[in-house]
């Protein structure tokens, strides 16, 4: 047994700075982002797991269902991969909910809420870290797409814009999942709550198939919802064709979701 004796000798008495205002909110958010990214770096398996599920989807749709799906004007793998990227970002956003729910369940949020830090920083740092993570996941999925025959038909700048649109979309969904994560008590519950919400968004969309072949009542939804808008924008950026309008529509969805839900989520955090 070790006995812990705390020396009574005067130690350095650090002076904390006041810490109000927007600049401190940014600093606190960066500190939390660093913390979350360190966690991801320390458990790199999570990054690998993040691409396993979408890779299974790639293989399934590319080689199992793909033969029966025809998309006029382009090869199915070219149509499919942007949809897979969007799906990856959508399901990746669940991490935001799981991360926050775990911090909440383990009592970490209690400590953070007792610190003189900005109230927005816990959520901001989570979403920022998850968005950074998304960049890596999307790049990994691009490589997997290349391996199964996907080819971009535009230039590097446009492909980069496509990646940006994906990260922006993931950022927006992260705010929805931040709200879910704060409303449940553990990671499993967050996961369970997320899937039924994402399924109609991701599968009843143009991510995998052309909505023209869906029943009439479903087509309206499948064409005009954020997943389809994001897939359209990414297809335009990576495959070519009219782009500006599609990028604008998807940006409007993403920014709209973030602008509405970020304040709601922060409010929820304040009142936990």
């Amino acid at each position: 047994m070790t006995t812990v004796s705390l020396s009574t000798a005067p130690t350095t008495r650090p002076v904390a700075q006041p810490g109000d205002g927007a600049l401190w909110a940014v600093r606190d958010t960066l500190a939390m982002t660093w913390r979350n990214l360190t966690t991801i770096r320390r458990v790199p398996q999570l990054l690998v797991f993040a691409v396993v599920q979408p890779t299974i989807f790639v293989l399934m749709f590319r080689y199992v269902f793909g033969g029966s799906i025809t998309i006029p004007g382009r090869s199915y793998v070219d149509y499919l991969m942007p949809g897979i990227f969007v799906q990856t970002c959508a399901f990746g956003a669940i991490n935001t909910a799981v991360g926050l729910a775990e911090d909440k369940g383990k009592g970490l949020l209690e400590r953070l809420r007792s610190l003189p830090m900005a109230r927005s920083a816990v959520l901001g740092g989570r979403v920022a870290a998850d968005s950074t993570r998304n960049v890596f996941v999307v790049l990994l999925m691009l490589a997997i797409g290349y391996a199964v025959g996907f080819r971009t038909h535009t230039n590097v700048a446009m492909v980069a814009l496509g990646v940006f649109m994906l990260v922006l979309f993931g950022f927006a969904l992260s705010w929805i999942f931040a709200l879910i994560g704060l409303s449940v008590t553990n990671g499993e519950a967050a996961q369970a709550a997320a899937f039924p919400m994402l399924a109609p968004l991701v599968f009843a969309s143009n991510a995998f198939v052309d909505p023209a072949k869906m029943p009439g009542w479903l087509q309206g939804w499948a064409r005009h919802q954020p997943v389809s808008a994001a897939a359209d924008a990414v297809r335009a950026c990576m495959l070519g064709g009219p782009t500006a309008n599609k990028v604008l529509i998807s940006s409007a969805w993403s920014l709209g979701i973030a602008l509405v839900l970020a304040p709601v989520a922060v409010r929820r955090y304040r009142r936990l």
């Binding site: 009574t8 130690t11 650090p14 401190w24 383990k106 009592g107 970490l108 209690e110 003189p116």
Partner: protein
């Protein structure tokens, strides 16, 4: 138009404010009529207490008594439905940020990030307390050293033992040398050795002038660390005082004499009736008598028994414990 009495009013205000600050300064924590209901659950039903600067208040109570709710209000995590609480001179509702700068919280569930190393955990808390990077770094190393975690400082906290986690958790609460420390069941679930370690650490902090509010279910812990104890149950204060005051409300020290058989014990009980209210204990082979006359009672009792040829085989002194206090007050075992 300027009111000609305005300067006077301002002066009176200033004097009043100064007086307020003075009375608040001697109290590190004061809570007045705290009420918090969660739907039908009445976690706190009007709790008031004060903790003078530099002292330790133990908040004792069974699970669900409202201890944690009180701590959460004092740490600004929760707003009271009604009532007022002032910590280090700042109101928890109207000036939560100043309260947060004055406190350290160590929680029931050692709230450390398992994936960060011990050093990184302390660094993060330092940064979020708005210390500069270098100040946070220096402080982290200092605390790791004080809490005997230097060797483990660069290992993820998930590899730590329960006792190490609690020490890290407590270290994280001390990053800014807060004048007020709130410890919510700091040793719950620890083995006796680790508990002893943590008690020593807390005792040292108190010696340095830190004010501590401590919730616990361990009566021994409150007995050992707290200057004053409040017993709460169902959101209400049911008793208040020092450990010895609480014990004395329960009665006196008892002498227990054990005999070889029930026959001897019965005879001894009859003999000693005159000396005090000696009664046969439940086990039928020992007798218990209150120690009203001090040590002389024991001498007289032993002499009387010896004259009758009765020699007890065991002699025990039983002090009332806080457990007895607790049981009698709340009717619940801890």
């Amino acid at each position: 138009m300027v009111d000609k009495y305005q300067p006077l009013a301002i002066l009176i205000d200033m004097i009043a404010t100064t007086a307020d600050v003075r009375s608040a300064a001697s109290m590190a924590i004061s809570a007045e009529g705290l009420v918090k209901h969660f739907g039908d659950v009445h976690a706190l039903n009007g709790v008031s207490f004060e903790v003078p600067t530099g002292t330790v208040l133990g908040l004792l109570g069974p699970n669900g008594a409202g201890k944690t709710t009180a701590v959460r209000i004092l740490t600004t995590i929760l707003r009271p439905d009604t009532g007022r609480a002032v910590v280090n001179g700042f109101d928890v509702v109207s000036d939560p940020r100043s309260v947060r700068r004055s406190i350290g919280l160590a929680g029931q569930y050692a709230a450390v990030d398992e994936n960060l190393t011990g050093r990184e955990n302390l660094l993060l808390v330092g940064r979020l307390n708005h210390l500069s990077k270098s100040a946070a770094g220096t402080r982290a190393i200092e605390l790791l050293d004080q809490f005997h975690l230097s060797d483990a400082g660069n290992r993820p906290a998930r590899t730590y033992s329960g006792g190490m986690r609690r020490r890290l958790d407590l270290a994280a609460a001390l990053v800014t040398h807060p004048p007020v420390l709130l410890l919510d069941e700091p040793t719950a679930g620890l083995d006796p050795a680790s508990r002893q370690d943590l008690w020593d650490v807390i005792a040292n902090l108190v010696a340095d002038g830190t004010t501590v509010l401590l919730t616990t279910q361990y009566l021994e812990e409150a007995d050992r660390l707290a200057d004053r104890i409040i017993v709460i149950d169902h959101g209400l204060i049911v008793a208040e005082g020092t450990a010895s005051e609480l014990k004395s409300t329960l009665g006196e020290t008892t002498v227990v004499l054990g005999f070889a058989d029930a026959h001897a014990a019965g005879g001894a009980a009859d003999l000693l009736c005159s000396l005090g209210a000696a009664v046969l204990a439940n086990d039928a082979v020992s007798i218990a008598m209150p120690l009203r006359g001090g040590p002389a009672t024991v001498r007289d009792a032993l002499n009387t028994l010896a004259d009758a040829g009765l020699v007890p085989q065991r002699i025990d002194l039983r002090e009332p414990t806080l457990d007895d206090v607790f049981l009698s007050l709340t009717g619940a075992s801890v």
